[in-house]
Amino acid sequence: MIVTTLRSRLILTGLVLLAAIAALVPRNIKIRERGIDGVIRDTTQRRVPLKLGLDLQGGMHLGLELDQSKRISSDPAKDLDLALIVLRKRIDEFGVTEPLVQKQGDDRIVVELAGVTDPVRAKQIVQKSAFLEFRITDRSRSLDKALPAMDRALQRLGVQASSGVAAPSAVEQLLQGDSGQQHVADSLAPVVGGALSSLIDPNADIPGEYLVEEGAVVRVDSLLNLPDVRALFPRRYEYRWSSAPISLGAKAYRALYVLEERPIVTGSNLVDAKEAIDPLTSGPIVTFELDRKGARDFGEGTARNVGNYMAIMLDDRVQGRPPVIQERIERRGQITLSGKSITEARDLALTLRAGALPVPLKIVEEAQVGASLGEDSIRKGMIAGVAGTLFVVFIMIWVYQQAGVLAVAALGLYVVISLGALAMIGATLTLPGLAGLILSVGIAVDANVLIFERIREELLLGKTVRLSIDEGFRHAMSAIVDSNVTTVMTALFLFQFGTGPVKGFAVTLSVGILCSLFTAVFVTRTFFMMWLDRKPTMQTLSI
């Protein structure tokens, strides 16, 4: 009877230990990085797969500033504070990676990430501004009507239709105030229609969609931004480019959309976003959910525009081709990402959930940083940890003798199993996290002390060795269970409501307690059973 239980207990202990060791075996980790030459390449490093935090290991340092070239900030100080909040949410979504997001001076944000294996992706997540808008395309085709007037205005400025290749230089000259008297040789190509209308091709199917050859995008953009042309642009409308080119035949086109100035709803009303696979196209999509106000606005906007086309804009770029509005849409919707990977869909969902950056950010500094605690502190901490452990080992063996040796052996297993468990769940270990681990070591020792003291009490009552061990474990269990359940409950609340390091503490404490319950109760019991198994006639116990 006992032999079979003992065997199954040993097998279970062995399996748990093996799993922990397997999780801790150093392995090759691919690190994707953009080199100085701008080429992205993967390098492999061999390391123990236990993530250490910035305080213990260091990591990647990024200095970020507002990039006002794309969107002008009306209040940079406020936008920087907003960006800080958004970045905190975005980077630390699950709260266990413990990044550093810090304001430096009045105009810079410092982001430090521990143990990054894909810096390119990390930078993209930090930089993506994720400003989501839904706008209706121009059903009245007002740009078609405005184009002739724009052509005439350009003619007055001396701009001719061209193949578009040398166009930017012509525009640059114009902007530099060359008054359009000098004609650039390239722009003397045969004129068919006006300077703009020859480059912009209206789509008959979707009102408000225009196709521009990929090579002419820059020229069209510059021309439309000339003050004289901008003045002629249909009022209450704006134009935006599509995010990806469309290929028709051999040529690549970029779609230009004329959209209502006011979005019917924006990402600020978004409450949730998730990545998914579209069952029809098996391409990646992002499904989203709006809050109450967003749902109402979206419902009204879509009900008013049934039959019209709606552009989904992310960071001022139209995503995919605008779908036609079939019916009133309220809370939920989805964004189709054609030609993107599921990773990109996941990143988009993540950035949408965290909210939009008020102004895009540019990376002004990038470096590797060492451990923030300093190598000296870590070394001292390790010496102190070893000394503390030796104290505990000494006391346990001194007081409990052979039983103490069993407890110490179980404690050794505990260290391996808890570190393995932390590696498995991918938690990042920081100094406050180590505090949680130290506390759980204390609790593991305490559980053994409780059991051993109880066994002693039973022995002193004159019970046999075998019975005393049974009773000792049985009676100590209620105290161990109740005290550990309350501690884990506290840890769960700290995880739920805490931020950053408090969360890290909660994770290591909960994991530590679960592992300590396993080793201090189950494994120690197994050791006692082995002991009894080898000496079945034991009259006295070395405890």
């Binding site: 304001k103 430096q104 505090a435 003291e453 005290s483 390091p501």
Partner: protein, 329 residues
């Protein structure tokens, strides 16, 4: 069998009034210290100055010595980190003085300069830049941690009401709250800088103290069943004495390893060890002198059909211990 404090028979509960006086005085001192000095938050909470250093010829800097030198120049708890290439470092630091950010930046930068003169020697380093940095952790960390502890108290009340009885839950939570006040008071009196590590220590203390209280209560629960006729204070005394060998051993081991941390751990870990050291004391004290007497007080005030099925408890006047006060080692 090496037993210590076995079969002890101290009348802990008889001394409860003395203990109330001591702990009341300590609570007053804690609150006064908090009001007068307030808590001194570390650079992680307040932000400070970031100084970037480049060593001549990319020579390495002795970080341990630099930290000690900074400490001597009035900058406690500086972060010194390698940055980019060899011989390049960043120091995040803050002078203890109050004042505007600009003053602090200049003062900190010059203090860093003085420390580096002592460690590396003048001319062997250049200060590339210095400027203000914001806090690393948002202010919500404190309030959210307290909120989490508050909610966990409610959960503990519910759990103990289910496993024991509501009286036990209330007494355990009172003891733990007492420990939080005293520990924060200790931090204020000792002028310990509140860093994330110290927050970790306070949270550990909460877990430790609650653990200790419940272990004694577990024995009380058991003895209530066993000795149905005994007076409540006798049962409390018996339970505390029976768990004494365990208490001595567990707290002894904790204190031993915390001493090791305090002695060998260096400037960064020492605050953790000190706070936990105090936490072990107050946690032990409160399990015996707050949790147990509060439990008794509740029992006297709201006597009910409890675990034992006993309706009322006659209060025995203090200072009339039924059991002899004595010690056996």
């Amino acid at each position: 069998m090496r037993r210590y404090f076995a079969d002890a028979n101290y009348d802990f509960i008889a001394f409860r009034r003395v203990a109330y006086g001591v702990t009341g005085a300590l609570i007053v001192v804690s609150l006064l210290a908090l009001a007068i000095w307030r808590l001194n938050y570390s650079i992680e909470f307040t932000g400070g100055t970031l100084v970037r250093i480049e060593m001549k010829d990319h020579a390495p800097l002795d970080v341990g010595q630099t930290r000690a030198a900074l400490d001597a120049n009035g900058i406690k708890g500086a972060e010194i980190q390698s940055f980019g290439g060899p011989g390049e470092y960043i120091v995040r630091a803050r002078t203890a003085k109050e004042g505007s950010d600009a003053d602090n930046t200049q003062e900190t930068a010059s203090a860093v300069g003085t420390a580096l003169d002592q460690v590396a020697g003048q001319g062997n380093y250049t200060i590339q830049s210095s400027g203000a940095v914001g806090p690393k952790v948002g202010g919500e960390l404190r309030s959210k941690a307290f909120l989490a502890i508050f909610y966990s108290f409610l959960a503990v009340l519910a759990y103990l009401a289910y496993r024991f009885e509501w009286r036990f839950g209330l007494a355990a939570v009172a003891a733990t709250a007492h420990d939080i006040v005293l520990t924060i008071g200790f931090i204020a009196v000792m002028r310990i800088e509140v860093s994330l590590v110290v927050v970790g220590a306070v949270l550990s203390m909460v877990g430790y103290s609650l653990n200790d209280t419940i272990i004694i209560f577990d024995r009380v629960r058991e003895n209530l069943h066993k000795y149905k006729r005994d007076h409540f204070s006798d049962i409390l005394n018996r339970s505390i004495n029976e768990t004494l060998p365990r208490s001595i051993l567990t707290h002894g081991t904790s204190l031993a390893s915390l001493t090791a941390l305090a002695v060998f751990g260096g400037e960064v870990i020492r605050p953790f060890a000190l706070v936990m050291f105090f936490g072990v004391f107050t946690g032990t004290f409160s399990s015996i002198y707050i949790a147990s007497p509060v439990l008794m007080m509740i029992e006297q005030k709201w006597p009910g059909a409890d675990i034992r099925g006993v309706k009322t408890i006659a209060a025995r006047p203090a200072g009339e211990p039924k059991q002899p006060v004595g010690a056996k080692g």
